[in-house]
Subunit: 457 residues, 2 copies
């Protein structure tokens, strides 16, 4: 009946490995879903990972490795230990698009050996898929796609499909693609419609002429957007001559969505592409370190900026107390604006031509919040320094810093996108660091500038 996932399995498995109960382990493993097994593998070291894979039924191995595709370092380590015969078996047991993904992480000698062992037809299909950019529609698709012809009857189409399945093996499909004699995609019929139609009806009379298809070179992010826009479960892929060459299924699209979102979250948090379950501390450090060094350099620059105000700060040390606050608020406003823009650019809700519109909007939002924060800051400063003029200057400086932060946060991602650089890279550590440096410089410059200096006399 209804299954639910048991997250505690991997503890049990570890115990079974440690107590060398391999028969129990074997029957347990083979009763789990590939996803569950891959989840367990992520919690083990290489030696135990290989032991587990040895205990699996042969047809389970490709499915489990497919699930590991999001954890590329783990997968690379594992397949690096496999013989070319074993790899060939695995590649043959996978869907073509997954096989291409797996082959693309092998080293050259392994690829050559696997390719040599494969039957000619699979080798040819795989070679074609490997030519596509991994992040394009071509790289996501499987070349196995059910197509039927306009002039057939439903009965003939069903026979066609049965013949196709005899040749290629059974695959779930939801939509049959209608092609003309040159394999141009001209329409679709859903399986539901085929099932319910009279077997003598002509496909041409059943089919929907409105087909949404994507070009083989289209970026995967765009493919996801189109699938979502038209609520597609399968997206057909066409080549430059509008011929049907493959299909992308929703499970691959969901994987892409996840990947992209995690990338965005990683950029905002400064963890880069790091994976949750990555077992190595060293690798996690390496992924996160660049962002920290960036923060460190930014911090060094702020120290230099503050150093240049040494005498002023010694005269009025209270000014320095508000520096962490100014940096925090400026950084927060910057990150708020930029993450809204990055999200909008990713979903298409914001266009790169919207620069001024967006800048204006974010400036107003930033200004409004800046004024509220400044009012509170004036009270806080008064409480701490009992100096009205200083309180007003600090509040004023905050508003300027906030507007600067909103401007940087909203325009940098759009400008980067125009330059074809992933705007998600700019958010997070980069935006906060920039705002720290300039925010503090602006704050000190305003607070210690001549017109506001009377309070220090």
């Amino acid at each position: 009946m209804a299954k639910t996932r048991d997250p505690q399995y991997h503890r049990l498995v570890k115990k079974l490995i440690n107590t060398e109960r391999s028969q129990v382990l074997k029957s347990l493993l083979n009763s789990l879903s590939p996803n569950e097994v891959s989840g367990i593998l992520l919690h083990l070291n290489l030696k135990h990972q290989l032991a587990i894979l040895d205990l699996l039924e042969q047809e389970q191995v490709p499915l489990v490795l497919k699930e590991l595709q999001d954890s590329s370092t783990v997968l690379e380590e594992i397949v690096g230990q496999f013989s070319s015969d074993k790899l060939t078996d695995i590649v043959e047991g996978m869907k073509q698009d997954d096989a291409a993904d797996l082959v693309s992480i092998l080293d050259e000698s392994q690829v050559d050996a696997v390719m040599e062992n494969l039957p000619a037809k699979s080798r040819e299909e795989l070679t074609t898929l490997l030519q596509y950019d991994e992040e394009s529609a071509g790289g996501l698709m499987t070349p196995h796609v059910v197509s039927i012809v306009k002039d057939e009857t439903v009965g003939e189409a069903v026979k066609d499909i049965q013949g196709y399945i005899k040749r290629q093996g059974f695959q779930m499909f939801y939509t049959a693609y209608v092609v003309d004699e040159h394999r141009h995609l001209i329409g679709t019929v859903t399986v539901t419609e085929l099932l319910l139609a009279d077997r003598r009806a002509k496909i041409g009379n059943l089919m929907n002429f409105d087909v949404v298809a994507v070009d083989e070179d289209l970026d995967q992010e765009e493919v996801v957007r189109i699938a979502k826009e038209y609520d597609l479960v399968v997206v057909p892929v066409i080549d430059k001559h509008l011929k049907l060459i493959g299909r992308i299924t929703i499970d691959d699209l969901v994987d892409v969505m996840e990947e992209e979102y995690y990338e965005d979250i990683g950029h905002i948090a400064g963890t880069g592409a790091e994976e949750v379950t990555e077992p190595s501390v060293l690798r996690a450090s390496r992924d996160r370190l660049p962002w920290l060094v960036l923060g460190l350099l930014g911090g060094f620059l702020t120290a230099i900026v503050m150093n240049s105000y040494e005498n002023a700060i010694l005269r009025i040390p209270e000014v320095a107390y508000f520096i962490p606050l100014i940096a925090a608020i400026g950084g927060s406003i910057g990150i708020q604006s930029s993450s809204i823009v990055v999200r909008g650019l990713a979903t298409g809700a914001i266009q790169t031509t919207d620069l001024l519109v967006r800048l204006w909007k974010e400036l107003r939002v930033g200004f409004l919040n800046g004024v509220v924060c400044a009012a509170l800051l004036v009270l806080m400063t008064l409480y701490l320094t009992e100096d009205l003029q200083m309180a007003i200057t600090t509040g004023l400086a905050l508003v300027v810093v906030v507007c600067f932060a909103a401007a940087v946060g909203s325009s940098v991602p759009i400008l980067l996108k125009r330059l074809n650089i992933d705007p998600a890279l700019a958010v997070g550590p980069f935006i906060t660091t920039t705002n720290d440096i300039f925010g503090i410089a602006i704050y000190l410059a305003i607070t210690f500038s001549a017109p506001f200096q009377s309070f220090s006399i």
Copy 2:
């Protein structure tokens, strides 16, 4: 042929509204997809939104409003202007699960009027759906689900389905659910299998006994996880008696995924639930302000902390120069740890029982990166102050701050999750603010503590 989305449409539409070319506008609008029209609406004010909706074909309106469901304030404003007759028509034109979502945002008098106008059967179904928590499987499902009986032949099952479609209208479906005489879900047959099977074959011989179903009360995040785990395009929903009561389709699951990810990004960036295309500056300000005020209060506390070290800072002002740096690095490490943990908790890769494991891992990663950063900081401090002992003290303090930040960042989300509070709420502004206050306090305490004070003499 292949359509691609034109993001420039909304400019054209605005122009057409402004020049009052309503005939051109009408034919343009009705050639667009509901998603495109909803995208345009988000860029307009209420008056223009209503004008556009008036120009749409009647059957387009429910589809367009469904697409607006993610922008609830916009949708609320629009439907607030509708008569109850118009609302009833719209509700009747929607899938039941979407209709329930729409009805749930109406005000009480509108709900009563709509319910009164609806035919008895729809009213009953809608009332049932409205009882579920919006974020549960029951709240996501549609009660329209194709079920067939084990003892039928394929031919009889197809007739059943045709009869069902005659009563309920045509719906795409990919899987037929096999039930026993009490409507208990006992198996599945895919449409592909039905299509290709002999019409005289028994359903019982075709069906897969392994069914994954979810309980009506299951949280939507869990539903998404199960669908992903088993690569399901449709998830059947069962009640407490294991009876089949509805189905959830992948488009709704994809919407949930998006919602959850955007929520996470919003929490990390401190933009809350704010939507990209939300037209009102005031609302955007309101969504972001709480996080800024939190930062402000944190900043105030750091100012008080620094104030208590006034004399020490006046003696060695260089110490103050590194405060923004310490705050930035501590905040970054904290946010890196916490976002990795939040992501892991959301995907199930990290369990709440993993607290110590995770803490230990994040402490090691944080310590490693802290040591590298501290080494650089020692050099920076030396360059700026030419005081070796101060440089070493600063570096040492950074390592302590970093370990503290890693500990807070990794354990707070897990502890919150144990208390059944959404851990995503804790990341972002909350974690950085906490780290600012304590990080600076730790830094000042260490730097100005007795054993390290020789350099100031």
